[in-house]
Amino acid sequence: MLTQLHKVEQSLNQVILGKQQQIRLALCCLLAEGHLLLEDLPGMGKTTLAHALANSLGLSYRRVQFTSDLLPGDLVGLNIYDARSQQFRFQAGPVFSQVLLADEINRASPKTQSALLEAMEEKQVSVDGETRALPTPFFVIATQNPLFHAGTSALPESQLDRFMFRLSLGFPDHQAEHQLLQRDSSRSRLDLLSEQLNTDQLRALQQQVPKVNASDALIDYLLALINSSRHRSDMLPLSPRASKATLRAAKAFAFINGRDYVSAADVQQVFPYVAEHRLDPSSAAQESRLSQLLLQQTPCPL
């Protein structure tokens, strides 16, 4: 199954060129059952990534453009009165999909943001007192536009904490962009992406991630790393949710790399993407100053 996952990775790499690291991290986030926050300029391939992920994994995909007048009901759905049957009928919102691209999440009002975030955390939504479970897997890719802050409501720290990873795709390098331009259209290639892995297989892969071994010594190192962020004034302290996310992400990362144990290198690899937005919510996504500082200052005895 891992080979199939690697095939997914390969096909994704054919769609989004020159972003192997980011694609692996995005897959890692999906495997770890976390949600992904992409911070990028428009036109960097965020939607393509989300769409490609959904397609190659055979997942249902919806995209919501967040605007300031978007209401929670537009997102989770509404009870609509059906005059013919004289009954209320639930019209499911876009949140009822397996991969949800929440585009420009910081443009929506905090009320709508929190409705989404609740859905992300609980994997269910409540409409008019009725709780409805969301499909599984439920994977949210939210995007933020870092440049245009006018009329946005930045996600508060507590809500940023819900996202396991924050990534930035960044500009492609010369060669990749050259190749991109030579192609007729990436959209058409996207449609060509076949379903490499069905939902059940993805579930099975996700269930294997927690079984990856993390030794006591490694957990101690991880805690030392997390702990070094606490009792400092130049950054926000990392919560236990952050340490859980780091370990889970490191496990997923080790799993993708074909290992059944987490190494300190895994932790160091995923740490900046897990920690940076938690340490400094106002930092830009391509930055990893604070997390690199912590990595350097925490001795690794292993």
């Binding site: 071994n213 030794s215 010594a217 059944d260 987490v262 190494s263 300190a264 200052q297 690794c300 005895p301």
Partner: protein, 650 residues
């Protein structure tokens, strides 16, 4: 300007309690005068009146000082000193206005509190004094503490805990210095036996339930018939009452330990804790051979102190149970005087002598006479008012107390030409088996006779002939109910109060043995024991330290346990020690090994293998990987050496 009203109230209360504690030293008018002044001060404080002006206080204090000075002869120097000191404190409190005055006052209070121990040594009073001391300490603290500061109890408790061993060590081990100054003798009525004995004097003592002394025996308790505690010898008889001979007073100074005449007699060894009696006379059984400390032992077997006892005194006596010996012909002569009067008694003695020429026989006859005839033992005998009181007692009233019988017997013996004297002291005592000591109270005061037979002063107790139970049992048991009531008046009859009193007495006993009795001697013994047991003590201290160290070490180890280095890491570090020093501290070992594999192509293969095996061992928790790692490191010793040198070169 001192504005803390509560402090002034505390001091007023403190001085009132000092007044009560030191009341022995004060006449009633002084007490009431001081109390009035203090209550006035409290009243003025509560009414928010300012302190009295210094001028008036000085005038008042001057007048009182003069009055006290006039009273000096009556009060004695010691009491005068205490009075003046308390006067100073009270007067200072009346006019207290400045902080520095308050500081002086606190120190005067400390001194006065210390003075309480001149008058009292009881444990209960000591507790009271401690309470007053703590109050003064608290006021001292309040005086110096910044305003609004609260007493920090945990910290205070910690300080006390820290100081406690030091304090105990000081008490136990610091050399006992002799007194820096002499305390003048107080004019206080002496308690216990007097210098003269006349019918009636012991009677008063018998109604006194207070403690006279306590005894702890080294061996078993001697039989009750032997428990005659000799304190006084009454040898001068004036026809009515007995006195200590003036000759004896001067002769008492020569010191030659009496020698027992009977080597086979039982040896006695005991320690006595005498209560403060304001007398010099102390107590011993039969013939004491040696006494401890600064005491005098005279040849007639009497023990005395150099100066009147103002505190409890503990001393040890070793001796034999045999009677004392005659010292000189002069002593015999002294004890033959019968005085004038009492013709019937002399007549009776002459008749007895004719029948019984031997002294022992005569004494037996007297005992028989008392036993067979209608003689009664009574605490309330009729008054013997006439000139011939012995005659009156022997032939008409026939009812009396130990002193009556003793003095009558001595007179009969003297009239028969046998030297005899009345001995004053105590008989018996209350034995407390659990606490293992004998408590002798004033009510156990007794008088008996010693007569000369073959150069030995044989004791004879005529009271035992009349009321043998008096000797064998307690006084309570032999008296009829109404006379017993005379002894046990009021609350003493309540059983539980009696029991509580007993317990308090035991507690007080331990207090006097362990605290008051802790003198030079005990300290020297303690030092000696300490030195003897030094190895044992050092071993136990070392043991305790080791135990603490182990506990602390275990605790630290437990705390550090999560940070322990995994065995695989230790193995690798040991094998690759100098190479790994170049590793950046934050870099994982396996990553570093892979970097090395790249930078050192000749070692590439095994370094990569090493990295893999190490990861398996440290991250995957596989025990066989650890063994593989050890084997690999062993196998690659040579390469490791090469690696070291090549890394060093680059």
């Amino acid at each position: 300007m001192l504005r803390q009203k509560s402090l002034l109230l505390i001091w007023a209360g403190l001085q009132l309690s000092l007044l009560l504690l030191l009341q022995q030293a004060f006449a009633w008018w002084i007490i009431s005068l001081f109390a009035v002044l203090l209550f006035y001060r409290v009243f003025a404080l509560l009414r928010n009146n300012a302190a009295i002006s210094l001028k008036w206080v000085n005038l008042l204090a001057g007048i009182i000082a003069v009055a006290l000075l006039l009273n000096l002869r009556q009060a004695g120097v010691l009491h005068f000193m205490l009075q003046i000191l308390l006067l100073a404190a009270v007067a200072r409190l009346l006019a207290l206005q400045h902080l520095y005055e308050a500081r002086q006052l606190v120190w005067v209070h400390y001194f006065l509190i210390g003075c309480c121990f001149i008058l009292h040594q009881d444990m209960a009073i000591a507790m009271l004094v401690l309470a007053v001391f703590l109050l003064n300490l608290y006021s001292h603290y309040r005086l110096f503490a910044p305003s609004g500061a609260r007493l920090n109890w945990p910290q205070t408790g910690r300080s006390v805990l820290i100081i406690l061993p030091l304090w105990l060590g000081m008490f136990l081990l610091f050399p006992r210095l002799p007194a820096f100054w002499q305390i003048p003798q107080a004019n206080v009525a002496a308690t216990g036996l007097g210098d003269s004995i006349d019918p009636g004097s012991i009677e008063k003592l018998v109604q006194d339930d207070s403690l006279a002394f306590r005894v702890e025996f080294d061996g078993a308790l001697p039989p009750r018939q032997q428990l005659y505690w000799r304190a006084r010898l009454y040898e001068d008889f004036d026809g009515r009452s007995w006195h200590i001979s003036p000759l004896r007073r001067t002769a008492a100074r020569y010191n030659a330990a009496p020698t027992g005449n009977d080597a086979a007699a039982a040896q006695l060894s005991y320690s006595v804790i005498a209560e403060a009696s304001r007398q010099t006379g102390l107590f011993a059984l039969a013939t004491p051979n040696s006494v401890s400390g600064n005491l005098q032992l005279n040849s007639s077997g009497l023990v005395s102190a150099n100066k009147p006892l103002s505190q409890r005194l503990s001393y040890q006596v070793k001796g034999t149970a045999s009677p004392v010996l005659l010292l000189s012909a002069q002593e015999q002569q002294l004890n033959l005087a019968t005085g004038s009067g009492n013709p019937a008694t002399k007549q009776f003695a002459a008749e007895l002598l004719q029948q019984y020429p031997q002294p022992a026989q005569l004494v037996a006859a007297i005992a028989e006479h008392f036993g067979n005839q209608a003689f009664y033992y009574s605490l309330t005998p009729p008054l013997l008012a006439g000139a011939n009181s012995i005659d009156q007692f022997l032939f008409s009233s026939r009812s009396g107390f130990c002193s009556h019988y003793a003095s009558a017997t001595a007179v009969i013996l003297r009239a028969a030409g046998i030297a005899a004297r009345v001995v004053g002291g105590y008989q018996g005592g209350q034995w407390h088996p659990q606490q293992n000591y004998l408590a002798v109270r004033q009510r156990e005061a007794h008088a008996w006779v010693e007569y000369l037979d073959n150069g030995v002063w044989q004791p004879f107790d005529p009271t035992a002939a009349v009321a043998p139970e008096r000797v064998l049992n307690n006084l309570d048991d032999i008296l009829p109910q109404e006379q017993r009531n005379l002894l046990n008046s009021g609350w003493r009859q309540l059983a539980f109060l009696q029991a509580a009193r007993q317990q308090l007495m035991h507690l007080d006993y331990y207090w006097s043995v362990w605290v008051l009795g802790f003198d030079d001697n005990s300290q020297r013994n303690l030092w000696r024991q300490l030195i003897q047991q030094l190895p044992a003590i050092a071993a136990s201290i070392a043991g305790i330290l080791l135990l603490l160290l182990l506990i602390g070490g275990g605790y630290l180890l437990k705390r550090r346990a999560p940070a322990a280095v995994p065995p695989a890491t230790m193995l690798l570090q040991r094998a690759l020690h100098p190479v790994l020093q170049l590793k950046p501290p934050s870099q994982p070992l396996s990553v570093y090994l892979q970097q090395l594999a790249i930078s050192q192509p000749q070692h590439r293969e095994w370094l990569q293998q090493l990295s893999d095996v190490y990861e398996q061992a440290v991250y995957a928790d596989k025990p066989q990987a650890l063994m593989q790692l050890a084997a690999l490191l062993k196998r690659r010793r040579l390469q490791i050496k090469q690696l070291r040198s090549s890394v060093k070169n680059t």
